[in-house]
Amino acid sequence: MILSSLLSPSTVKMSSLLMLVCSGLVLTSCGDSVVETQPPAPIDSSDIAYTGPAPITEDIQQYKTSLWDNISRADKCGACHTQGKQAPYFANRDNVNEAYAATIDLVDLNKPQDSRLVEKVSAGHNCWLASNQACEENMQQWIKIWAADRVSIANTIELQAPVIREIGSSKNFPSDNTLFSRHVYPVVTQYCSSCHSESAIIAQSPFFASPNTNKAYQAAQGVINLDDPAKSRLVVRLGNEFHNCWSDCQNNSDTMQAAIQLLSNQIAADVIPPDLVVSKSLRLTDGIVASGGGRFESDIIALYQFKTGEGNIAYDTSGISPEANLTLTGDIEWLGSWGLSFINGKAQASTANSKKLHNLITATGEFSVEAWLTPHNVIQEGPARIISYSAGDNERNFTLGQSQYNYDFMLRSENSTSNGEPALSTPDNAEVLQASLQHVVMTYKASEGRKIYVNGKLINITDEAISPLASWDDSFALMLGREASNNHVWQGDIRLLAIYNRALTPAQLAQNYDVGVGERFYLLFSISELVDLSNTYILFEVSQYDNYSYLFSHASIVNLDNKTLVQDVILRRMRIGLNGKESPLGQAYVNMEHTIASGQPISSPVTLSPLGTIIGIEKGANLDEFFLTFEQLGQHSNVVIPGAFVPEAELPATTDSAKIGIRNFAEINASMSVLTGVKQSSTKVFDTFKLVKQQLPSLENIETFISAQQMGITQLAIAYCDAAIEDSTIRSAWFPDINFSQDPSTALNTTGRAKLLNPLLNKLMPLNIASQPNKTTVYTELDALITKLSVCGSRCDSSRTSTITKSTCAAVLASSIMLIQ
């Protein structure tokens, strides 16, 4: 079965790097200086100097430089597989031509990964490194370099019938909430109900601490793992994510886990419900490996795929000696999906082995750094050092860094500082850098300067400092995650790093972007019995997406026997199952509906959905067991009927607010206008309102009232009263019996005061309303006020009468008589 549509087009063009660099010394003109560069660092041959006959063909020469020089060393295959020792003698040091003849049956130049040499070291046969995986990668890479253009353009894959597994058992939630109520509910209601309850002030879904036990039970099922209580979200949130612990997080997490464990202990493991229409099940490792092919890797000089998964060394598997392996220090985690997660750590090569970067890059005067990476956040800066070939905070050959949303490309050149500045940075506004998996390539060549590509696209920035490389220091070291000084920490994941001594073309780097990163498997879920056609499968491409989830994608249907369905098959509402139950999350195919017609060719996979989805890892990539369920597949159906929805009763807030409030800014302005008869558009009040508007209350809640607001209210009241009294029409209508041309002693004598205060109060606090101040008391107070203000000595002219009137008016208008509602 040939699968041609699922893999990206690829062209592995392994040109001979060694042929290029062995062509002799390369002299590069760099302004006034001449930098003499070397071919690739020679194999350390102190113990194995070859003195036999020269290679008799060009391919044998290629074989020698690519593979034989590496494997014939005494610390590798040369220790045994030499003449007179252990056959086959492919590491024969007496005659490379005979070694070639012995090797040719042990390699597959079309598919280097299938070579016998690769299989042996992969299985651990005298691997010279601490990681069999790294030995495998190195051997494979050497053969690929030798094979060059003979490597198959691997855009097809052969599908083979998988192992048939029946679905295992698991624990499921009982319909009755008794056990939950007994063991878990008391804990969550005591500690989580302040938020995870719909009656909380700031209600936070899911409501597993709802006052309604049934509702809480429903919500809790999404955050409890019965099969493994320690992996319950309720537990993990406390223990690992420190989410609102009520005392010590670990103790709280243990308490929660113990409660769930008690719940789990009383639930028997169930087999998959018999009514479900299910496929056969598979583990990830039952799948067909789909990764690896199609990357452009010519001119590669360092390659890190981070496949090891453990230990403190990340291997350079470029096949270009010396291997610049990275030693891990600090807080770094391996990713199950291949990669390193940097929290506060550094992966650094030795300066001696890093020297190959200096030598090979200065030889060509150009280079590329390609990485698949995931910044953990978009706030780190410095720039935070992602990938750096440097010696300290201020000395570098090149660096890929992060400054918040930007990638920074620092490069030592003729016109730069020794710190590689000015940096070339992606534009602030573009926010190119995101905290998601990104393919980042920075390229340099003297004629074009620096470029940054993200996810296959050139970022539109101009290198304003194009100049040749200069003064590169070969004593610097390649490092990831932070600077040599341990400063400028970068937090993020790196899943692949490749360094080339050529500037990749847009097509080449786009090709690598299309290939993606990480190990992918094709899983063939058998539905043969359900559709009555042998070797019929639902095909998924599945990979480990990160440390917490699988990625399912490229769903299709296929028959491996080149047969077609004898009748139409309806496929409705497909779900992904995991460890004996349907995954509660990530069901991206549940709304899918297809009819596969009888006779329709399905010998090549027929796409069912272009979507991908993530499904949480439970027991680990080697243990988790997947299957598919269908509400309808062919003649089989199991329509899921959602449970009746029980609307929750709304609960009142537990606050006890004041029954009175204050007027807000606009209401105050309008009220003063209504009470005084002065228009809001009147210049004096309009200007004052504009001035104090933001100072006035914006909320009507009396609890929010502050003194500054009273200041603003008073200013506005004065403006209104001033405008009213200065307006002869308003004034004479409001206070017809007061002679404002008289001084206060006359105009506001006992009789006059009544003529002022009665109209004032009748307008500002009409009628006798119990919720307003007692009018007599207010009258008395204002009368006393006028008495005080009338003691004015030589300033008691007629204008004082107006001033006193305005003041008296403002005393009422700015008071709670107006403000409180």
Partner: protein, 426 residues
């Protein structure tokens, strides 16, 4: 008494700073009046007279004090057992429209929920539709916008600025009289079937279609008209099959964040927000970075976006590399996933299909939900009673008024009347 204390503090401060102008004595009087008032309130709150009820009814609904005549008229109606008529009497005041409704609707028109924002086509349309007793569900569906009448000599309605409404505000125009209804499509050029009341107003576009991904239009429609932010609606058990490519499935390298947080909203949010796929707010980011002179933009039939090769605006395909296997928007066909799962609590109309094409049918879906009707009542309750529901009686009243709202052709004034009566005191 706490408020009185605050008044006291403010007053003391005022005396220090204002002594020079000789007003400290009058402010002492003001303060004493304050005390007199507050000491009386507890008693009044328990046993309000008809006049007290009339005053509070008017104060809370209109925002300004009533004249003696109006108070007497309202009190008389209350005494006659005509409380609804009493409330409608209060609402005869122009300030009900110019002050109360303007303040009521203004925070809905901007992302900051700023109550100080100027009048705009969103708030003016709300005011006009309430005044004319138009079915309030139409605010999210109608081909309708309220403008100032021609005789006012205002700047014309302009899709690129707010000058028309700013002039109404600056002139302190009486909105009870000055607003007239126009076909929105005749003002902003949208096809009539692409209009959706205030959702397609310039103010809403400026606030919620501005840059981004148009999801904020969905979020703020829910905040403003369903009384729920997205957080309480989280339901990650729904299918993620409509979540767009721009949502990282492993933010910062941790897919649990997506599964447990992001997906909770996006499962329902993204298929609903697809209704806005042909909309944008366009402005020159270089010369007008805050978009003050921008205008709503719509890809009508035949208009193809260069990036998406469909009528879908480019913003719907932004950041596609975050998750290339995510959903690709190719049209404006929305679907309401929240009709299943816990968000059935929003009370969707079973007579509607729960899916559709474009913003108008989206507005219909929202406006016909129980949550929409109840939200209007809750907002009025907060506005008039100055608090949220704090007792079973409050909850019951909100439900009763919600039912009444629906039975009375969704007339918002009716809610103000019923809630005003409920909170005017016994």
């Amino acid at each position: 008494m706490k408020a009185c204390y605050q008044l006291l503090v403010s007053h003391s401060h005022f005396i220090q700073t204002e002594r020079a102008i000789g007003l400290s004595d009058c402010l002492f009087s003001f303060l004493r009046i304050c005390f007199l008032s507050l000491l009386l309130f507890p008693v009044a709150a328990l046993e309000a007279s008809t006049l007290d009820q009339a005053k509070r009814l008017h104060d809370r609904i209109v925002g300004t004090p009533a004249s003696a005549k109006t108070l007497n008229d309202i009190a008389q109606l209350l005494d006659n057992g005509q409380p609804i008529e009493a409330a409608y009497k209060a609402m005869e005041s122009a300030h009900f429209y110019t002050t109360t409704l303007k303040l009521f609707s203004t925070p809905w028109t901007n992302e900051d929920q700023d109550i100080f924002a100027p009048l705009n086509d969103y708030s003016a349309t709300i005011i006009g539709m309430v005044r004319d007793d138009i079915d309030f569900r139409q605010i999210l569906q109608a081909d309708m916008t309220y403008v100032g009448e021609d005789a006012l000599g205002l700047p014309n309605y302009n899709t690129h600025n707010n000058d028309h409404y700013q002039a109404l505000e600056d002139n302190f125009t009486n909105l009870a009289d000055a607003l007239v209804s126009r076909a929105q499509s005749s003002l902003n050029g949208l096809p009539s079937n692409a209009t959706a009341g205030v959702l397609t107003s310039r103010a809403a576009a400026k606030a919620f279609f501005n840059l981004g991904t148009n999801r904020s239009m969905l979020r703020f429609t829910f905040i403003n008209h369903m009384c729920s932010d997205l957080e309480p609606l989280k339901d990650n058990t729904l299918s993620p099959d409509r979540i767009r490519q721009d949502v990282s499935r492993s933010p910062g390298g941790d897919s649990r964040l997506f599964s447990n947080n992001c997906a909770g909203c996006h499962t329902g949010l993204d298929p609903l927000a697809q209704a806005f796929a042909y909309f944008d707010y366009q402005f020159d980011e270089n010369t007008d970075p805050t978009g003050q002179t921008g205008a709503i933009s719509y890809n009508a039939t035949g208009t193809i976006d260069a990036k998406t090769s469909t009528r879908v605006k480019a913003k719907y395909h932004s950041n596609a590399a975050h998750f290339p296997l995510g959903y690709i928007t190719r049209n404006d066909q929305w679907q309401n996933y929240w009709r299943e799962g816990v968000n059935q609590k929003l009370g969707w109309d079973p007579t509607l299909p729960g899916k559709g094409t474009g913003i108008k049918s989206f507005g219909q879906e929202i406006a016909n939900s129980e949550a929409f009707a109840q939200c209007q009542v809750k907002k009025v309750f907060k506005n008039v009673c100055l608090r949220n529901a704090e007792s079973a009686a409050d909850i019951t009243q909100i439900q009763l008024t919600t039912d009444s709202f629906k039975q009375n052709s969704y007339q918002l004034k009716r809610i103000f009347a019923e809630i005003g009566i409920y909170c005017m005191g016994d």
